[in-house]
Amino acid sequence: MPTMPAILATTTWTSLDVWIVAIGAISGVACALPGVFLLLRRMSMMGDAISHAVLPGLALAFLLTNTRDPYVMLTGAAIVGVLTAVFTQWIHSAGRVDEGASMGVVFTVLFALGLILIVQAANHVDLDPGCVLYGDIEAGPLETLRFAGLALPRSVWINGGVLVINAAIIFALYKEFRISTFDPTLSTTLGINATFMRYLLMTLVAITTVAAFETVGSILVIAMLIVPAATARMWSDRLGNTLLVAAAVAALSAPIGHWLALEGPAWFGYPGVDTKTAGGIAIALGGLFALSVVFAPRHGVVSKALHRLRLSVRVAREDLLGLLHRLGELGRPAENAMVNRLMRATQVGPITLGLAMRSLRREGLVTGRGRVQLSQRGAEAARDIVRSHRLWETYLEQHLALPADHLHHAAELLEHVTSPEMREGLERETGQPELDPHGKPIPRSPD
């Protein structure tokens, strides 16, 4: 395997495309990490608020120092970002206003102030409000910055620096972030001040947002903060995994997004046109989220549907066994067609029924083709089902005094959740009668 520099040298890593993707991935991962905590705190909108509210911080930093030095910009943004969180909290508690409303008041006012300041500043220099809103990732690779003897695009240095800060702080204070997010009250009583941790997170969100500004703008940065986190929650039930998956989703969205931006317009009849990569990244994130909603293992739609299907097949299997037992009691042969008709009459779908029958045959509980027969093991299983059913009917009549015509339906539901232990309990409680309330014999085990 070639060493790392060899790969870099042999690939087209100096090309514009690769750099655009790299910048997108780096800023995406930098956003995804604090984004997970915003999502878990149910403060997703705080990312929105901060990303807008930092505008006056940027403008003021520029007006005061007259440079676009990244440190100055990040500091200005961080201060205003934390102020946004502080003001929101003040108005929320002092004015007794709902937190969302208080956030809305704070960030719109700050955003408007920022726009005025930018227009002021734009009279002196070139600062484009459009670029602030949508970002300019394509211009990212053009401006290089030499640092530690390495000439890399300026946005790689800035976003990379923020990524390193975020990852280092979250790694070092992992347990503190976890407890202050999950249970701020306990956190504070244990000496881990939840208010401090909250403002630390807000600071991270503010500097991350500002760093990602140039890349994706102040609106799409919200997608980068929240969507990877929301996607990761579909796949993971632990905080560590959620952070890792969110980072992976963010990294993956950059190449997909760039590809979409290059190729997408041609699909809609605009060949030769390419759109903004930032937009492509947001669409890629949305797509990954949608895929996760459908296919994620535990929380996905498909997995939930499969779970329901499995459950209904199990119930249909037990109902089938019960039916075969009852037909046997009546001495009626179980013709395939009749069994199907009787089962379909109980609202069982054809797919469920087919699957249930197939699994019974595969396990050797049921044999015979045109006429269905219970094997010896099948007969035992069927007897247990019917026994549970009729014991429940007896129990419900004895203990709840349900009228006879109400017993069957309840017992029908209960028989599917009855364990052998519960059946023993039922035997004890009902005094082991021979007949159920409808006068039908309660089948016994042969022992």
Binding site: L40, L173, F182, T185, S187, T189, L190
Partner: protein, 290 residues
């Protein structure tokens, strides 16, 4: 359950709380303006207000050591606030609170708090064991990871509440009663001398409730002081050694036998004591008579 310790004489059961320091129920504990009490929890002249409306008014209370104490009162009586102000979570307008004579910030290690179950998001991506391990964070200190020793302590605490089998379940997969046990295990993992619990029986099944009570009684038998915010009058007489009747002020405090009287309850609940509650209380009272 032992109700009467060697010092189980009646405590001052003032109908109206006065500013004078209350005499202590147990041992030669000095109380007074100048000398802070060395009781496990000593609340002195504490007043708390939200938006200029008093929630607690001149509360004076010394918790007796090693007792299971119920904090009883109607909704809005300031029961939860009392715990929060003791833990510096809510600012107080006046007064002092000490734990064994020291302010809370110096005694974090010996005080464990069980907040109300609804106070956290149970969908949080975390396992039961990880929640319980949080009880150890105060000992672990900033920046450090949760080591094996602390994970084992957390597992032992889960085992004590009968939840060891659920250690690696995500907390949203637990029932309400199991979640409450996880919270309790977290407090146990703190290995404290004083436990402050906010409605630990809210929304749990009967089996969990009796398991929790048994555990609390074990704790107090081992010399730990346990303060439980509780609102069910009927079970209060069975569960606790001592009670504190609170309705913004301390209406009465002391051993269950002498404090949980109809007169005190009426004073605590004002007109809010319904006929049913009175009947329930009378029933509990008659059952306790030999």
């Amino acid at each position: 359950m032992i109700r009467n310790g060697p010092s189980g004489q009646s405590r001052v059961s003032a109908e109206v709380t006065v500013r004078a320091p209350m005499e202590s129920v147990h041992g030669p504990v000095a109380t007074g303006e100048e000398h802070p009490s060395s009781a496990p929890l000593s609340i002195h002249d504490v007043t708390v207000a939200y938006h200029r409306k008093p929630v607690l008014w001149d509360v004076d209370y010394d918790a007796p050591e090693g007792k299971l104490i119920g904090v009883i009162g109607p909704n809005g009586a300031g029961k939860s606030t009392l715990l929060k102000v003791a833990l510096d979570l809510t600012p107080k307008a006046s007064g002092q609170i000490t734990f064994y004579g020291q302010p809370y910030r110096k005694q974090r290690r010996i005080v464990a708090y069980v907040p109300q179950r609804e106070s956290v998001d149970w969908d949080f991506p975390i396992s039961a064991l990880e929640v319980v391990a949080m009880g150890r964070y105060g000992r672990i200190g900033w920046f450090r990871r949760v080591g094996r020793k602390h994970r084992e302590a957390a597992l032992a605490a889960l085992d004590r509440v009968g939840m060891a089998d659920y250690a690696h379940r995500q907390i949203s997969q637990l029932s309400g009663g199991q979640q409450q046990r996880v919270f309790l295990a977290r407090a146990l993992a703190q290995d404290a001398r004083i436990y402050l619990m906010d409605e630990p029986f809210a929304g749990v099944d009967a089996a969990t409730e009796s398991a929790i009570v048994a555990l609390l009684q074990q704790l107090s038998a081992a010399g730990r002081t346990v303060l439980v915010v509780h609102h069910d009058l009927q079970s209060a007489a069975q569960y606790f050694d001592h009670v504190m009747l609170l309705n913004m002020r301390v209406v009465a405090a002391g051993p269950v036998e002498t404090t949980l009287t109809e007169q005190n309850l009426r004073a605590t609940y004002g007109g809010r004591l319904t006929l049913l509650e009175e009947a329930a209380h009378a029933m509990a009272q008659s059952r306790r008579e030999p």
